[in-house]
Symmetry: D3
Subunit: 237 residues, 6 copies
């Protein structure tokens, strides 16, 4: 029933390749099917003004799409003169999600910026950014620990994300672009490796959903995140 | 346990005053406790370029806060030179939510813009905007139907929204500012009057939540939206 | 002769309701006929850089119109990306006018920002903003004096403003929108309660005026401001 | 008593040199004492959208200051990313003032843009811009009439402007920078050659003024404009 | 003498991998040493307004750097709100250079946009962008020809670019970042495969150069471009 | 053969008038044929952050065109909301070129800003800006030396610039607008008075050039700069 022939509860192939740029403290290319996102983590000694002197650390994220990561060319946001509303919404989500797995006291007063740049898009770029972003973050934190700058591991639990939605009347896992553009209801689930929920975003455009459908979507997400966390661990091993 | 002395499943007082500006096709002042939002609906014959000639209508929203709607004065977005990320995210949510209750074929090729301007803020402004915005939208559509410009009612079902969250370890309904600023998990539920879910947004900042807590939050939202829909009907009667 | 049936030297009904928002140090809703402006005053301890350390205070103003305060919907300035020329011109006028009634030494090194947001417009919004803005300013200064933060009253004299113009060849007082859009000459007079002139702005678009007409317009303004000052005192009593 | 040694009712030396750039349809360099403004007039066949098809013409103006036209270097508005509030206010004034001397039916559906760029500033730049701008406009209109594109002269009467203010307690004519920066009350009078008033702008910063002082300021302005109109005629002869 | 141990006239290793994204009509990843640039070519039927209806085609380019392509993280231009001067200068150069190898009549009235996004930077990104951009352009044109949309080959000759400069007093070929940041004189040479010069840009920051040094730099460039053109042909084979 | 009747190696008439504004520390109006540029130099005690505390000075430049300096009116960059790419590119070139003649240690920790504003354009405005800008810089430095603020002359050698290009198949010196708009290859040469090259920019739009043509263009530039340096010295004498 799905355009890709996948089962309703089947993820696309996931690969995570680490160390893809020489400058960043952590980096990976995550590929979820044809969605490819380059994630880098940068450590800086400064923190945002609102926590200066608090001893707490900060993790933030930025998101971008290359102009031709999409079927037809998108306008470059730098030429448009600002980040669009969608971009801002996504990068706030990535930062918030990653922070939910961070002990900010243990991190100490420093900032890690996770940049997620979409090289090729085929649906689910924000989820891939979170999942890959966590790998880059993990690598940067490992470097801090190895250097002795951080003693106690500030990463409480892995963080990963997957999209779910109602496609052709059925709850399905990990929508690709062909499904996403047809789905009347779709959303993102961000979970920790320990099964705790960080964020649930289900939204309807042209349809609505029932309580029982919501329940099924949560189950699918739990399955998908389990597989993503396994892929994260394999990549880092 | 709650700062306001309310029960865990108790809404603040809700009042909706219609017809508050003489120029708009629909308008109301919604007051949910100390949160006051002025909602207006404007009918225009033009539609966005991407649906021109399709025969379909469009409903969109814009959101703003008066500089001193908050405890300390906020910078005016017009002087900042752009709408912040939070504003853009909220107004996209309002528009998307209202459209989930609209039959765009029945509306015909015209646009209704719902403006939600926060006069006084005490938590839950985006939810009040959706609930009040639907009342303004209803009034504007009524005017179109009375004038014979629209024959079949395009409003399928009322739309209302309420916030829920984990406060002091407990799921609570309709967070005010004192609760919202302390809650580690909070979110918004947008439902239709017929009980169908439009949007679920639960997000954690500094905490996470379990499957069973999510279930309880959905129940609270269903109760709250029921009361809001009743208030909408009373105001329009 | 006037569309509203008023005499040439007759003001619209004026009402000033104080204490309309719970957060601001001073606030009122001023209604001059169908022109409704929400005015708030915010006290801050900082002052602009150019007077830092001088011991002098500062009073400034910002002005905005809600998108549907007008007959047809105006574009929101925050989405346009900047305040228009008219807005900037008006808020500079409001600030300058209010400062002409302030003893900045007595105020001490603090800033009061007066926000004037037009809820409904029917001509004369900048004049209503000044008249209502002074009431909000008076309330904020009263609070400072009551708290003992300011000893000697920094408000030298009330400040109020009224528009005048040539309508159908006659000098008239307090133009509403119907008159304003037809008047070839119109302008604003800002005066203090003691009769001293603060600002005279008469400008022609499509007509000109003589010395003797200017004299008559000044007389009308003096009458109007007298009535507005009485309304201010009544609201504050 | 005046820093320059001038009498209270004495203008600075005025010179107007025409034809200073080869590209513009009309141009002059006006020098009022040490204030030098380059004015050019550009004829275009297009008009602003709001009068398209009306048969009416339009005259508009833009104003700028070279970065080092002032005592200390000003930031270039193009690098600041926008025109400041003062610039926008001034160019609206120039355009409005020039239009008050134009028969827009006779001009026909075309636009004339008058650019006023301050080469050297010493007070009174907006008045010099209006006076010099009218000369450039006159030259451009003369070219249209000579070419037969315009039959009946659209320029009803010359337009000129002068500043007046209270300096050291005395009403004085044509303030230079040394006076302007000390004056508690100052303003601009724009008049036509036939003595009709176009615009009166008196404003106080740190002082106020009486009815009788206003009367004296108007008299001074009438004297000054008389002399400026003579200088315009001489330059065009 | 060179930090990398290369000879004065020795290029870094060059590799060009084609077909790296599935959406673009042409794409490659060019690697010149540690400088990696992703180049894509997009075909669109529209052309810029200034050539509409002329029958001529257009080739343009945009350039960007990922935030962590550099040693320390750069601010994302989309958040800065505009492309910096360096970016604009570079993308104009790329577009202009590529057009010098294009027969715009043969291309027909369509536009090809070449996007060059730097994944990892180590000096010479603009030159790599031109060399890789031409490969993407060649692939897109091949697609047009294969489809029969273009009959006669519009690509007159390959285009490639290399940097040269004075390092430690010696003319050297293909500066990497370590050399570039020390060079008092450096620049870029863009040539066609047939040896014709398209652009010469030599500029000094902190040093100057003689006629004979300029002559030697041109010779080095000719050698380097020869090798780059060979790499282009190999990649496309 | 040239539209102006000049020989292939003949410059336009050059005049440099110094002291044209009373506020700037150095100023001149340079006229190269019908290209007229007003250049001013401003001394400030502050330096850019990246050299604060280094003891080194800085020379920078800004460039602008008056709206009607051109045949048809250009949009004012301040209203467009930013400097165009061409402007930024030019002002970076001017600053870089002037710095190549400056001993920044001798200048001491201060900044000189050279503003170049085009009053009338007829080709070659960036070259005229550099040549005239150096004269303004020389005057400002002379003032510093006269005041004893600078002891050793920081200006190593005069800096001047000229354009060259291929017009009708021939290398020509100092292109005017009529030539510039037809030339398939053109560029700018910036040299010091001692014959050292600072910058070579040859670029093709619609043509290419050979090694031997490049050689001839350099010779023309050397001749032109020699004459410009003589004009600089005469103006300053």
């Amino acid at each position: 029933m799905r355009p890709s022939g996948r089962n309703l509860d089947e993820m696309r192939d996931v690969s995570i390749e680490t160390g893809v740029t020489k400058h960043a403290e952590g980096s990976c290319m995550i590929r979820v099917g044809d969605t490819h996102v380059l994630c880098t983590a940068t450590i800086e000694d400064r923190v945002p003004p609102f926590i200066k002197g608090s001893g707490l650390g900060w993790v933030t994220a930025e998101y971008g799409m290359l102009p031709r990561s999409t079927t037809s060319r998108m306008r470059r946001e730098a030429t448009a003169g600002k980040q669009g509303g969608r971009t801002v919404e996504i990068q706030r989500l990535i930062g918030r999600s990653l922070r939910a797995g961070v002990d900010r006291v243990a991190l100490g007063e420093r900032q890690i910026t996770v940049d997620c740049d979409v090289i090729q898009a085929d649906g689910g770029t924000r989820c891939a950014s979170i999942t890959g972003g966590w790998v880059a973050l993990r690598m940067a934190v490992n470097a801090l620990m190895k250097a002795g700058d951080v003693i106690s591991d500030p990463l409480v639990s892995p963080v990963a994300a997957v999209s779910c939605g109602m496609y052709a009347g059925q709850p399905v896992l990990d929508l690709d672009y062909a499904e996403d553009s047809e789905a009347g209801v779709d959303g993102n689930f961000i979970l920790r490796g320990d099964g705790r929920l960080i964020e649930v975003q289900m939204s309807a455009e042209g349809a609505t959903f029932s309580r029982s459908e919501l329940d099924r979507l949560v189950e699918l997400a739990e399955k998908g995140v389990g597989e993503l966390v396994a892929a994260q661990q394999a990549a880092l091993a």
